[in-house]
Point group: C2
Chain length 188, copies 2
DNA sequence: TCCAATAGTATCAATGCGATATATATAGTG
DNA sequence: CACTATATATATCGCATTGATACTATTGGA
């Protein structure tokens, strides 16, 4: 899904500024499955304006730059509906954590332990944050997405808690390599 | 993690050609957390060569272009170890499926049902494929990553199976609004 | 026979990310 | 009180990356 379609979708939930769109993809339920930078949002909104898929009204503000509130047009709603008619592409997941695990023969054994411990804490915090979201008012769809996020986070957490020992053997194997590595101060 | 570091990590598992690197990130355990196109892999390998982090030997082949097999150098291994010393960035997950769910007021109610049904099948197929991987020979780290993938896939599958009904209310609500403007307040 | 898949390397336009610039207000901290 | 961080808000720029495509040749299946 390109950023233009993402913007159409967000605006289908209500009017918003570029800044608010950025906040929504960085926090809240949208953060579970999307991401976008200012460098993609503002040009996207500009193009959507040109295409007549959104409208924009400038709201003057005291001592602040004008707020540009974007709204979906009828054509924009139609375009969104059309885009969602296509079968969704498979999920794309990027994880530096899993990469570090897979390449663990190139890191110190105790580093692997730390990595997993930290990850467990992050999962716990993420779950708490998502459960906090559920306390507020939400649409059924938004609730569904957040609960989906909680379910997968909990599964990952449980896996790490029950399997963190299974990499010790591999880490020990890599220890010999690491000792040799430490002698060479080439890094940094 | 940029593509250069990803290539270093992959080469730390064994020598490979650009084509093989692409296959590894598209299939196998690496596909669970990474992605890379030819347009990023070949330039990355070129830069790594310039930096002396990898070496390359051309293997002549019958009736095919030369195969360029890349190997990690000592410096390359050091650079990888150094990169992995940094705390991993948080995961980035993109899901057009979850987007479609969140924007479901812009799609037909029966479409939501289809979307979830199809997703359930995809999860089942993915789990089967990952379990197939476990049958072969694997390093402990690779096994860990694949089992992690299975655990999260199963959690997502179970969530969809047990919660697929919870969006029917929302979809029905949307349909009712289309048919008749006033309706009784929705009950959870 | 013909099409799809496999095995390889490689490039390019368009897209998008990450950082940064520009202003100002408020809140927290030493 | 000064200083720093955070929040509000728009916008641009260089660079990394994607997705598609080009080129060539073999193998396997319908």
């Amino acid at each position: 899904m390109d950023i233009k379609t993402l913007c159409l979708g967000i605006l289908s939930l209500g009017d918003a500024t570029g800044y608010e769109i950025k906040k929504m993809v960085a926090e809240g339920s949208l953060s579970l499955f999307s991401e976008a930078s200012y460098g993609s949002i503002y040009p996207a909104l500009g193009k959507l304006m040109e295409q007549g898929l959104v409208t924009c009204r400038a709201m003057a503000q005291d001592k602040r730059p004008d707020k540009k509130v974007y709204s979906l047009t009828e054509a924009g709603r139609g375009e969104l509906t059309h885009s969602l008619r296509k079968d969704p592409d498979p999920d794309k997941n990027r994880s530096e954590f899993l990469a570090a695990i897979l390449f663990c023969e190139s890191v110190a054994p105790e580093r692997v332990t730390t990595l997993i411990q930290d990850r467990i804490v992050e999962h716990e915090e993420k779950i708490t944050a998502l459960e906090g979201l559920l306390a507020g008012e939400m649409t059924p769809a938004s609730r569904f997405v957040v609960e989906y996020g909680i379910a997968t986070q909990k599964a990952a957490l449980k896996f790490l808690q029950t399997h963190q020992g299974s990499l010790v053997g591999a880490a020990a194997k890599g220890a010999a390599i690491e000792l040799k590595e430490v002698d060479t101060p080439a890094a940094k």
